[in-house]
């Protein structure tokens, strides 16, 4: 019975999830139901993502887990350790070394490759749920690609705030057909999903839905011709590595208004620092 129960889930469950994954890949952006299992972590901590990862993981894979861009936060450390123990796979924090990347809230800054899979943890797979409370109706809207309502939301934003005010979980249209929630990644990361060489899988454990974007698929963020989509980011370079093209976290450093902006992608930041890039606050760190 060697190989049985590899990666925590039993083989029948993994077959069921893989069937849903295949269907999801065949219909890009379409939400496929699956029989979500109880996992040894609470809903909202990545039960969907962890089940998808368990189903695609093989013995030769190298796993990386990101939580808000960081490899060293509780969720990332726990899930990485979970698979190291239940599957015995090699884990890494280096984006380029990984073959499977499970993520929450971010896409790595490093461009992904064709032989990589990125698995997103999704709290709410239905992009229309705040606008239309009935799931029967939203399913009908998806079936008839009746997405005027999503544009009404964008219209309301512009009418009220002068711009589209969605900063994360920014709705996208996949392959000119399905409206999709990209999970709560910042809008800054949306362009990375477009024509990505890697396979993108999305798992929502509590909502029991799986969806996917196959490699090299068009993913367009919704917008208006005269109010085009803009990726929003803090207008500073990274305090540690000086990067100007990566997504930044604001970190409060003291109780007197001190703050620094640092790369949210810790792997990207440390690689840049190792290559000799230093930001304005990096010198201070070194001096201390």
């Amino acid at each position: 019975m060697k190989g049985y129960n590899f990666a925590y889930l039993d083989e029948q469950t993994k077959r069921m999830i893989r069937r849903s994954l295949l269907k999801a890949v065949a219909i890009p952006g379409h939400q496929v139901p699956f029989g979500s299992r109880e996992m040894p972590l609470p809903y909202g901590w990545g039960t969907g993502g962890i089940q998808v990862t368990a189903s695609v993981l093989g013995a030769g894979d190298v796993l990386k887990v990101i939580d808000q861009g960081a490899d060293d936060t509780t969720n990332a450390v726990s899930i990485r350790r979970f698979f190291a123990r239940t599957a015995g796979v090699r884990t890494t924090t280096v984006t380029t070394e990984a073959t499977v990347i499970q993520t929450r809230h971010r896409i790595p800054e490093t461009q992904l490759r064709e032989n990589q899979i990125i698995v997103y943890q999704v709290p709410q797979p239905e992009p229309l749920y705040r606008l239309e409370p009935s799931r029967v109706e939203t399913r009908r809207m998806h079936a008839l690609s009746d997405y005027g309502l999503m544009h009404v939301k964008l219209y309301e934003d512009i009418a009220r705030y002068g711009q589209i005010s969605i900063s994360y979980d920014y709705p996208v249209l996949v392959n000119h057909r399905y409206l999709m929630s990209p999970s709560p990644i910042p809008a800054f990361d949306n362009p990375k999903m477009h024509m990505m060489p890697a396979l993108q899988l999305f798992g929502a454990g509590r909502e029991k839905r799986i969806y996917a974007i196959p490699p090299w698929t068009e993913v367009r963020s919704l917008d208006f011709e005269d109010h085009p989509f803009r990726a929003i980011n803090a207008p500073y370079p990274c305090g540690l590595c000086g990067a100007t093209d990566s997504y930044l976290d604001e970190v409060i450093t003291d109780d007197r208004g001190g703050r620094i902006f640092v790369c949210s992608d810790t792997d990207h930041c440390s690689e840049r620092q190792a290559a000799g890039h230093v930001g304005a606050d990096g010198w201070q760190d070194a001096a201390q």
């Binding site: 079936a143 008839l144 009746d146 005027g148 309502l149 009404v152 009418a159 208006f224 011709e225 109010h227």
Partner: protein, 258 residues
């Protein structure tokens, strides 16, 4: 008026259990024509409207719609996406209660623009321009474009619903008691507005009402319904001034100054 009907129904029948809602109903509507369906409560008026607009399937009979290219479509066998496309561009539906149609947590401008966006309009400036234009056409102050409908009065809500429906220039609008629940002066103003817009844009209307006065004011033709049957049909003035069927005679004589 052209010889070709815009919408034609033949032999419509529908039962709700033991209750006959429609019994062998034939209806024809020509482009640009206003047809009033009158009758007492429970006579099958609203059922007829729902069957004509494809929202309710009949037990027997068929509804044929002629698209702008002259092709006929059976409303009840056409694919669901095609029917929805019809409903959000070529057709419109005005409910008695505007809250059924409007989105109460979306601004007036968003409400008017929704059909445009559903049809693929993706230019914010254009959508807003058309929304302002339509608010003015239904006599709502353009300053109120960003206000929520719940701050509007009943008459304004009904006018907003009409703007939202007519913004895509439909060829056919179904109206279910559009003036119900409004006071007399607001009703008169709304009727005036509907008549003006419909005549100017050449829209065909199927109007369901129990109010003979509304039918007389708006409709070219009238169909009188009783217990699911159309008992009399003809030009409005003809039917109301010289009713032939006993039920129509009763209906007309029971209304003061109709």
């Amino acid at each position: 008026m052209s010889d070709e009907t815009l919408i034609a129904a033949r032999g419509l029948s529908l039962r709700f259990g033991a209750i006959p809602a429609l019994v062998d109903v034939d209806i024809d509507l020509w482009p640009g024509e206003m047809l009033a369906i009158v009758g007492e409560s429970g006579s099958g008026k609203t059922s007829l409207l729902n069957v004509l607009s494809g929202r309710l399937a009949p037990d027997a009979g068929a509804v044929w719609y002629r698209d702008p290219s002259g092709q006929l479509h059976d409303v009840h066998t056409m694919p669901a996406p095609a029917l929805r496309t019809l409903h959000r561009s070529d057709w419109g539906f005005v409910h008695q209660d505007p809250r059924q149609n409007l989105r109460m947590n979306v601004s007036a401008g968003g409400n008017v623009g929704e059909r445009l966006m559903a049809r693929g309009a993706r230019h914010y400036g254009d959508i807003r321009g058309q929304a302002i234009d339509w608010l003015e056409q239904v006599e709502i102050d353009a300053d109120r474009i960003d206000d929520l409908p719940r701050t509007f009065s009943g008459g304004m809500l009904q006018r907003l619903q009409i703007a939202r429906t007519l913004v895509t220039h439909p060829r056919l609008v179904f109206m279910d008691e559009p003036t119900g629940g409004l006071d007399v002066s607001v009703q008169a103003r709304l009727l005036d507005l509907i008549r003006g817009l419909v005549t100017r844009l050449g829209i065909a209307v199927v109007l369901v009402t129990h109010d003979i006065a509304v039918a007389r004011l708006l409709a070219h033709r009238i169909a009188v319904m009783q217990r699911g049957r159309v008992v009399e049909t003809g030009l409005t003035d003809q039917v109301l001034d010289d009713p032939q069927h006993p039920y129509t005679q009763l209906l007309v004589s029971s209304v003061l100054n109709a």
